[in-house]
Symmetry: C2
Subunit: 575 residues, 2 copies
């Protein structure tokens, strides 16, 4: 196995150590969550010296396994006050894995306000002043670092939001073109990186040996089945490559679960104008890229490059959740305005879901008019200007709601709800309510059986079956995140009995083990239990596993309400 | 007994009802807390329609009992997220009692943004538009309402902070000269009043009958003993009338427990410049009022009127906690600057403790320089200007710390610590940590035995005895708050065995009862249990009954640390 790399951000020192017994066999989210539980006092200030920011590639990351290039980042979240894992594509996961780094741990914090850059390569680690890059956006940071270190390095950086330690701050990763289109978006982890005064991390694997695969033949055979499976599923093989994740706009709108105007109804009159179909059409017209991967070895390729009217790159990695948040939620219907808002988030280093919901709350509070894209762009731009207005917006929906006296704020554990209404997509609602992460669609994507008829069909508007759906998906997702696999492989493994066994075969071939599917389920459960234990120590109770009272309102067009009790949710969701 | 007056702020209607059985025999804090527990869903949004704002005079209020004119206000707190009782002097308590109103309950909230004024008199209730008073400060509001309704009416109003629903907002009461020098300061209850769009409440008791006292002779005899007891104690009879509460500056500074520069040391080099002695000297020189009561029937008279250099009224009710918060905590040493900050708080309707601590956090975060009084005045002025900067500051210390990325924020349950360091005044520290109110000195004033040698002597720097001290004081305080008595009667009753029996005699004579001191203790306990139960339902755990990690730092001059464990605190503080 690899090593742990600990960086003391106060002393600007580092050290490698063997992976201790307690952490053996863990990777990705399973490792970051276990380490946070073991090493971070749950009641500490998330921006204080006791918090740690931990990066870990998944168990399959660095191997040739398709779609295994995700990097988990973990910390106590400044947004939720609980544990957080947020994973991203980009180059960093695979390069860290190839350098034999099982986890990179940023510890302590400097007293003074000087930002540093960490460079990790095959020779070791360098830490030096960030210099001119301070107060710069991610676009410029990544371009500068690629100029300096070459186009083969990974970059994880924060923009102005992370430097200001705002709760909406993301950590962005250079995508395959060196643009900040990929993000560890949720939970404000960029603020933790900012509190430790790390502006960027560069990872260069030049000279590093290839990942050792114990049983090469078995691995190759399993990976072939794996690739075929991903390519043959209609969602990962057809829908996502053709229209990106925005393929969901029309589907979720049609299902009546597309939250519009701060969760007042489930259909947006202008869904067509912001749909995946419309987006792909514009990208093709303007010479962008309809389909590309977020990391080498991706066979789904749901990412993209979106050009403006003049054919210049406007934004990249333009996703469904972003389009919903800045679109239907705020009633902005101009896709170019939404793309500009996405670009600003990438550049300042902000979570697009949190920011879209926040802009809606700013509209709810009368700060800017509903549906006004230009006003939204102006308002979001303040984050990059270090103004008080920008600090409010950049701190997210709860913060902005509090500043404006708004009482309809769609959050769980202070994190904004994503793009599926919990009343008319109840499997997703259970996940929002009960995942230790705060409202998060990726933690247990009930949209599958609720709307896409993947892995069965469960009525999205009724309670029956949706707790079990969410529970099973939460377990599976925790395991997927531990393996470093892209969440979108879930479509294939839910519909193909050979899915999980194939993943197990790859794990066994990679490490020379003889795991069973039950072991993978056990890993998912133990990860969730670690996370729930951290939250319990941080002071969370079953009260935190529920949606806010605004979801008691009846939701058109299906006239649903949120009708799970605290007891129903808390009894069934222990693992 | 009296009646409940319920006002529906959405429909602008009202109704009187008999006091139901469950609320019989309760008054003041005992009643507001019981009603909040019974009628407000603990997980509701504090600014939502489900929260209620409840006012209740104490059990002795309206009677001739000395120092019994306090009005309790209760609600779910927008600041702490838990239950809140905040009491104030002024005219309102006695006038409500004389009108036979056991509790005034504001319910629901209007959809639109129109503020109203409620006028309560012997003929009933009127509710009408606030008109020109919207966006006006409390000074102008009170002056206008006294001009309209005469100088015999009580006014409870909010300023710009409450209108904006900011978490630091107070509700202010007209003092004996019609100025907003008295406040329901803590817990952001002004934001709840603002969310219900009530700008002011006028209470006029003209024509109301006198309070009925069942046994007039017994009452008169007990009250005579009571007045003598208060006048003969050195603190309530001498220290407080001579120097106001600011008499504590030199005492607490000398004890090394005067938190300076955001709780970095226990002695302030310029304590002399902001002391009670200095304040009284300036008041006399400039023609102010050294000593006046906060309500009719007060025999302690610790309030005052502080003039500026030109002999004009600068502020009133200028208190120790305010002087500490804007003074030693921020290192501002000019008493006139501090007085101006106090005036701004009274005018905008802001809690002076929360705002002083917040200004210190703004200094910690580099927003303005340490010790700069003029910069602090400019910054606090923004609250009245409805700017984003003002919204941040007006939302308190946690909010401002979050906006600025500051991790040293001295709060419990998100409420700022008052003017006694918990490491070198541990009885007070236990109260901060464990009271259901969030950090609050009045909830169990351990300064008595820790520093003033009242009610015995307990070493303030050691753990021994301080949990019990705080626990007993919390029980006694809850009972005092239920009776509507001023907290400063505690000095006398702690040192005089006849103290509690005298209060019991007055209660019995007033209502024709035969209570014992044990009954009073039971009332205090049951009130605390109601409050703790509300907080439990709202999601509080023992984790919330502890100080933040910044108090692990060693504190000079006595080099103390905060050394109580969660278990020590949680085990001993159930009633």
């Amino acid at each position: 196995m690899g090593k742990l790399l600990r960086v003391n951000t106060k002393e600007r020192t580092f050290g490698f150590e063997e992976v201790p017994k307690a952490y053996e066999g863990l990777g990705g989210r399973a490792l970051t969550s276990k380490m946070i539980l073991d090493e971070v006092p749950a009641t500490c200030h998330a921006l204080g010296k006791a918090n740690k920011l931990i990066f870990s590639p998944g168990l399959l990351t660095g191997s040739p396994a398709a779609n295994s290039g995700r990097l988990s980042a973990g910390a106590k979240s400044p947004l939720t006050g609980g544990i957080k894992e947020s994973n991203s594509g980009g180059y960093a996961a695979q390069k860290l894995a190839k350098l034999g780094i099982t986890a990179l741990i940023l510890e302590d914090k400097p007293a003074e306000d000087d930002f540093s850059i960490i460079v990790i390569n095959n020779d070791g680690v360098e830490i030096f002043p960030a210099g001119d890059l301070v107060k710069k956006g991610n676009y410029e940071v990544m371009e500068t670092l690629w100029q300096k270190y070459g186009k083969n390095v990974a970059v994880i950086s924060i923009g102005q939001a992370g430097e200001q330690c705002l709760k909406g701050a993301s950590m962005n990763q250079a995508d395959l073109n060196g643009r900040p289109g990929r993000a560890h978006g949720r939970g404000g982890l960029g603020a933790v990186m900012g509190s430790k005064k790390i502006k960027a991390i560069v990872v260069d694997d030049k000279g590093a040996p290839k990942i050792e695969v114990k049983d090469k033949e078995a691995f190759k055979a399993a990976n072939k089945r794996w690739v075929d499976m991903l390519r043959n599923h209609p969602v990962s093989g057809e829908g996502l490559p053709s229209y990106g994740t925005a393929v969901l706009v029309n589907l979720v709108n049609e299902a009546g679960a597309f939250p519009t105007k701060n969760f007042r109804s489930g259909r947006f009159d202008h869904a067509q104008d912001i749909s995946g179909e419309k987006m792909s059409e514009l990208i093709e017209q303007r010479g962008g890229v309809v389909s590309e991967g977020c990391h080498p070895g991706c066979v789904i390729k749901c990412s993209n490059v979106y050009h403006d009217k003049d054919g210049k790159v406007l934004t990249t990695g333009f996703e469904y959740e972003t389009i919903w948040a800045f679109g239907a939620h705020t009633t902005i219907k101009d896709l170019d305005d939404i793309a500009m808002l996405d670009r600003l988030c990438d550049d300042f280093g902000l979570d697009t879901i949190e920011m879209g919901v926040t802009i809606g709350i700013a509209m709810e509070g009368g700060m800017i008019p509903w549906g006004d894209g230009k006003a939204a762009i102006d308002l979001l731009s303040k984050v990059g200007e270090y103004t008080s207005e920008g600090k409010i917006i950049g701190s997210g929906a709860v913060f902005t709601g509090d500043a404006l006296g708004v009482d309809r704020v769609p959050v769980v554990k202070k994190q904004s709800l994503p793009a599926y209404d919990p009343r008319s997509c109840k499997g997703q609602g259970v996940t929002y309510a009960t995942t230790p992460m705060g409202a998060d669609h990726t933690a247990g994507y009930g949209v599958t059986a609720n709307i896409l008829d993947v892995g069965g069909t469960i009525d999205p508007c009724k309670k029956e079956g949706n707790i079990e759906l969410s529970q099973n998906l939460q377990i599976a997702t925790a395991a997927i995140d531990a393996a470093g696999l892209c969440l979108f492989i879930a479509f294939a493994i839910l519909d193909d009995e050979d899915g999980v066994p194939t993943i197990v075969d790859m794990l066994n071939a990679r490490y020379g083990l003889s795991l069973t599917p039950d072991d993978v389920v056990a890993l998912g459960k133990s990860t969730l239990n670690d996370e729930k234990e951290f939250n319990r120590r941080a002071g969370f109770t079953k009260v935190d596993d529920q949606l806010p009272e605004m979801f008691n309102e009846t939701f058109p067009p299906h006239n649903t309400t949120w009708d799970f009790t605290l007891d129903e949710l808390s009894k069934t969701l222990s693992f």
